[in-house]
Symmetry: C2
Subunit: 416 residues, 2 copies
């Protein structure tokens, strides 16, 4: 196939991760090497930057800084949460995108994100096809939620899982120093899929993790929860560690975090202790039920930006996912997302493949029920075997004065 | 001076840190080397373990595990918060301690902790002196709060400061990925002294830190706070990062975290958003005032147990502080705490000295007013020069399966 000559644009979308910039480095450095790609543009704030013609000339960046992107957390070009309309209902954005693509001779479009971003990528791809505008569209996966379909795992998950597992082990040791009861509730990100919360089981596997783990895959029952905790409390001399997904819901589909508003009314019962997310709600409930010290810890943004303890496996795979996206596009593929395929066998090996964007857009992969223990409060060995290889190896940014030296991009705007 | 022959006991007290076990390793390994020290006991849960005759024979531990203590967070022997009575009012505990010391021929007492623990150490020392029981008592400092008097800094501070600075830099990058306003409030430990919150200024020094920093040393004024934030908000396109100490108080001495109970009443104004500590209170106030997305992040226990990104300088100094305590005691010193003295000159060098326990007990060292900017919302270069050397060098536990291999002590109980 004759090589398609033109410019390339790359955008980042959705919640950032520790390694989304590693994929950016992969896409950008690989695209800059390709003869058929004349200019490599970085979109400011994803699809929004393209609509507004705000993009940077990545060829102007210092290669050393592009290398540093591999260990720089967050989305260096800026991210966006912008849902494109159904083109049959409203094609304004699509017309504008086509206009911009034509104006800048964009023939390669790489979009890095999760399910919503793959939906954007898919819609753009289909529209450009329909419009007869030749452009290679490849999605690069990214999400700490690990919930993208058709791929063994997602760039970003391994590093977030490593941070969560390590921090859980550390908190485990800290939370049991006194010879008095202490119940600690850890809250991990994940609205619908419990992959990241499940990573706390890696700490348990090492003997320093939660006694109980609650994923959004299992309907949350407050009475059973209190019983579960009481049982561990009695068995372990009042020391209990619980991990919960932010997205746990009761049988009516109500988020446990929303219980906070009810509990706040019972002010007297809780004194000055006020409530926040799911962990704070549960810590308050347990404080009342067990009459002991409880503590809620939310990993919050920390779990998705802790580049200082990223998984080397994840960083390297994420970089390669970016590289592969460019290579596949140059080889003529379009309308796909790059995906990981784990090779069979005991030793972990992972190869790349392409999956149709339409199969990934908006789809969600959850933790299989059979990997969760019968009683719904823990993970089985199958999960450990799945997740452990993904957190291997240590990656950290180079240090300057004892602190990380993150990439500093020039972000030279492309003239309109 | 003839060497005092007998047994030694070591205890850990107060809130744990990433490096209190490094000091334990220093005390224990050094004590095991000394001929005049026959047995080295580790008290379970500090002074309480001594009162209850619960201690471990540290000579039975595998030297490899003792080495691993250097990179194991939390208090391996268990900690305690137990305030000894004034011996003139109630000497029950003291009589009991003397009984135990005599029974086990304890001639060396090493106690590792903060101000309260140094108070315990001081009281025990004075009582044993008065009772005419010869025992060398040396305190080993420890606190992430860095608020011990008579020492340049405290073991544990450098590592907590490094974690706080690195995490702040990472959150800084994460919190500005969208092109929409976002105000992020970080909450750092420190009830009365702002040293650890001030460490976020190290992130600002590297260009990725808070715009505003509020320490408990400065009376907190909510109206001024809102004005300060609005000013940065307008200047920076709605991107603001604020760091606050958990212990900030208003002019009436009321903790800002206590405002939560008032705010919870105004439920309608905040919808389902519930409140927790100071950061959550402030995030709620700002959400209401600025009508933008706000996020409260509490470093919680994470900041004091993050051995995975400890300061090597801190780990090494903490280990040596433990060693020095033993050497000083064997050399005949008693009734002192080991302290750090920074040598003058541009290059950081630190030596050890002894300070009287009575001068340290219950005293509190705060951040000097002249190191805080005039308007009370930032730190001056003097603080950076003070703190930066303390976070140098990287220390992490050895990894096994991508996860930390922390020390596993046998904890062989000493027969009663």
């Amino acid at each position: 196939m004759a090589k398609l000559v033109g410019n390339a644009i790359f955008g980042q979308s959705g919640g950032p991760t520790s390694v989304i910039n590693a994929s950016a480095a992969g896409v950008i450095t690989e695209a800059l090497k390709q003869d058929c790609i004349k200019n490599v543009y970085g979109a400011a704030h994803g699809i929004k930057g393209i609509l507004e013609e705000k993009f940077y000339d990545m060829g102007m960046e210092d290669p050393k800084e592009l290398e540093l992107l591999k260990t720089t957390p967050s989305s260096a070009l800026g991210s966006v949460r912008y849902k494109l309309a159904d083109p049959d209902v409203d094609d304004t954005d699509y017309k504008r995108l086509l206009e911009v693509f034509k104006k800048y001779d964009i023939r390669y479009f790489f979009y890095n994100g999760g399910n919503d971003s793959m939906d954007t990528c898919n819609k753009v791809s289909k529209y450009l096809q329909k419009a007869g505008y030749e452009c290679r569209v490849i999605g690069v996966p990214k999400t700490i939620d690990n919930d993208l379909a058709e791929t063994d795992h997602c760039p970003g998950y391994g590093s977030a899982a490593r941070y969560v597992a390590i921090s859980t082990m550390e908190v485990y040791l800290d939370a049991r120093v006194y010879d008095t009861p202490m119940v600690c509730v850890l809250e991990v990100m994940g609205r619908n899929a419990g992959w990241l919360t499940a990573a706390t089981a890696l700490a348990s596997y090492k003997g320093a993790g939660p006694d109980l783990i609650y994923l959004p895959e299992i309907t949350f029952d407050m009475d059973k929860f209190v019983r579960d905790v009481k049982e561990v409390y009695d068995k372990n001399g009042g020391k209990v560690i619980v991990a919960v997904s932010e997205g746990i819901k009761d049988k009516n589909g109500r988020y446990i975090s929303e219980y906070g508003s009810d509990l706040a009314k019972e002010k007297d019962a809780f004194g000055h202790s006020q409530l926040g997310g799911a962990a704070q709600v549960l810590a308050s409930v347990l404080k009342k039920e067990l009459k002991c010290k409880t503590r809620a810890i939310e990993f919050s943004l920390l779990q998705r930006c802790a580049a200082h303890c990223a998984s080397k496996t994840d960083v390297e795979e994420s970089f390669m996912a970016g590289q592969m996206a460019v290579r596949y596009a140059v080889d003529g593929y379009s309308d796909y997302m790059v995906a990981y395929e784990r090779e069979p066998g005991k030793e972990y090996r992972c190869k790349f493949k392409l999956v149709e964007l339409s199969k990934v857009a908006n789809a969600e992969k959850k933790v299989p029920r059979e990997w969760i223990t019968e009683d719904g409060t823990g993970l089985k060995q199958e999960f450990i075997d799945y997740a452990l290889p993904l957190i291997q190896g240590e990656s950290a940014p180079p240090m300057e004065d004892g602190l990380p030296r993150f990439a500093r991009l020039k972000k030279v705007p492309v003239k309109k």
